[in-house]
Symmetry: C2
Subunit: 400 residues, 2 copies
């Protein structure tokens, strides 16, 4: 039914957090070794024919993360093509999409995609992140992430009566999930009161409505679906994907209660996979802010427009609910290292679909294993320049 031309045969991620003691290259090396080890029947480095590296914010400390040799060189995969993809917050998921296209093209049989981001080190005064807040004299002054996502939040509250308490419930849910995920940056629970009483960042976002700045690395090994049996007896297939780039500036959104790019990316992905939201068992979606998760419920088709606040309040997106969202802790608790985020979401979903969390993680962690009914999972990012870019990926364990 789905596209299913590409299979995921290995995934890995490092614990998210502060890695002042590891270089960008050291993080890539570590996740690469974990990745090779994650392939059930093994894979030789020499079998990997091409690579993609997702890094959003390069050059914080020099030339690191610039060009494909940043990946190829440090893990010794010398001589294969490696493309660096940058696409704001969907950097990792877009690198994954390009890797899928590479395999489906018939040019490469087995490929590697790694996302790596060091965001805690030296935030250069003139680097990209600073540019967002200082930046261009007219166009981007105060164009920080909270300021870019806030207009959707205030408008959603105004149009649909969504409340600060409902927003806080997203943080409560995702932080709880984060305590069950050993890869999560934050490992503590929060209450609605904690969120409402945390310092104001940019109305209506208090500190605990916002995701942290995080270091992280994650990766996947992909191959032609018909070759998957060589590497594992339990491949996860790429049922479909979508990506949309829509506009340059946040003020260009067509509708300030929605993210256009998400809606369009989801449309492509559902069509390609031949499924709808009702077929999805588990979601990892872009909760950079609490309200973003509420809007994602609507944009991705999991509830009617304006009903996102009610959906979080219903408990249906909790681990024990009808359709668990962000079992890993999401961006809010697990963290958001741009180029890595999408690939780490895919890693979590592969583990969930395969039941690897039950077999491979601690007793406490096992509590975040969701029930797999239909065999489909959905991954989502939205962001980049003007919040105008989104990727959606649908994964499945169903071969048909």
């Amino acid at each position: 039914m789905g596209w299913n031309k590409v299979a995921i045969v290995g995934v890995a991620q490092l614990k998210f957090g502060e890695h002042f003691d590891k270089s960008y290259e050291a993080m890539i090396e570590e996740v690469y070794l974990d990745l090779l080890a994650s392939v059930d029947k093994g894979v030789e480095p020499g079998e990997i024919q091409a690579g993609w590296i997702g890094t959003g914010v390069a050059s914080l400390g020099g030339w690191e993360a610039v060009s494909g040799s940043s990946l190829a060189g440090c893990v010794g995969l010398t001589g294969i093509p490696v493309t660096r993809v940058e696409n704001g917050c969907p950097t990792g998921s877009d690198a994954f999409r390009n890797a899928c296209l590479g395999v489906a093209s018939g040019v490469y049989d087995v490929v590697l995609v790694i996302g790596c981001e060091k965001m805690r080190d030296k935030p250069s005064d003139e680097g990209l992140l600073a540019m967002g807040s200082v930046g261009h004299a007219i166009l981007t002054r105060a164009g920080t992430a909270p300021a870019q996502f806030a207009p959707q939040a205030t408008r959603h509250m105004h149009e649909f009566g969504t409340t600060k308490e409902q927003m806080a419930m997203v943080a409560v849910k995702n932080h709880y999930n984060g305590t069950l995920c050993p890869y999560s940056h934050y490992q503590y629970e929060v209450t609605i009161e904690d969120v409402l009483n945390s310092p104001m960042v940019c109305w209506p976002f208090n500190l605990l409505d916002c995701c942290p700045i995080t270091d992280g690395a994650a990766g996947a090994i992909l191959c032609r679906a018909d070759l998957a049996g060589k590497y594992t007896d339990r491949p996860v297939y790429v049922a479909g994907f979508g990506m949309a780039s829509t506009h340059q500036f946040a003020f260009e959104q067509e509708d300030f209660t929605s993210f256009n790019a998400t809606v369009k990316a989801a449309e492509q992905a559902y069509k390609m996979a031949g499924v709808g939201p009702e077929d999805i068992d588990v979601v990892e979606a872009h909760d950079c802010f609490t309200m973003t998760e509420i809007i994602n419920y609507e944009d991705l088709g999991f509830c009617e427009k304006g009903k996102g606040g009610e959906l979080i309040e219903s408990g249906e997106t909790q681990l024990s609910g009808r359709i668990p969202w962000n079992p890993s802790g999401g961006l809010l608790a697990k963290g958001h290292p741009l180029g890595c985020t999408g690939i780490a979401q895919i890693t979590e979903l592969v583990w969930q679909l395969r039941g690897d969390i039950i077999s491979g993680q601690s007793e406490k962690s096992q509590k975040r294993q969701v029930e797999v009914k239909n065999g489909y999972a959905l991954q989502h990012n939205v962001g980049g320049r003007g919040v105008g870019n989104s990727c959606v990926t649908i994964l499945t364990i169903r071969k048909d």
Copy 2:
């Protein structure tokens, strides 16, 4: 014989040079309109299903060039996926390669690739280019482009007796070609004496041994080879391509008279296209420094190792020679706006293979039209972190 799954049905480029009066977005818009107009039978924007944007050095003036919406948003292609590719000097040609994979995957029928770079504006003190010279305390101090390419030049001179005069002949040839190319940044001839007497930059490179810093934009429209007839009766096919990422630091080169990445990328491209250097009619290859062109002769298989100096001296790579190299003026005269360079080289080769220079340009410019015998052309870039990345693309007008 060749891969030939993807056809080029439109190409365009802006004049290279100093575009202080145009924004990054304005350059993209201008080349996009030229690109649509370049498709013989026309193409509607709505037919374009995906895009790739090659920009190496982003964010010089704010958020510009960050993420795919930088392209999609400014030309109104809202809702399609657009990936930003960065890969150092091969950024443009690697964006082109990824666009080819996208079409060959069967997911997208008609796609767009644009390369754009504004390098003359505000060189941020902490931006990428400055990092190369100041950068990491140990690893990249003085890691400027001339310093990264110089060791190959001095070693080539030492091993093979290649001379400063032979190097200067590359500048003489390419600057002459540049005077015939209305898209070239520089429009003047130089003599061997001019080159030898120009200020020393980094031994053995005098100023005229080095390419300039340039603004530019170029683009191509690609489609499935079997759909090409809808758009043009004279498609140019992608016969093959190769890319290699090899190492992170210039000191890691295996052989200081050669660029490993070029050798490996060429191997892949020739194999995929089913041709060899003897089948190529015209070359646009990466002459960032005069010696780079001499080494490219050898790395790409156009002469024996160590004989590059003799090849330039023989005159065989001149416009009137057996195998013309860099008819556009090359990086030395035409310029090197990273993300744009590879795509502009492809644009020149499409024009050359089709004979468009005779039909569409001034009488003086027509002198740079080469003789097309076998119907194959080769494009090449090398650079990025540690000069460890190279792309080679082989184009053909032969359908078989």
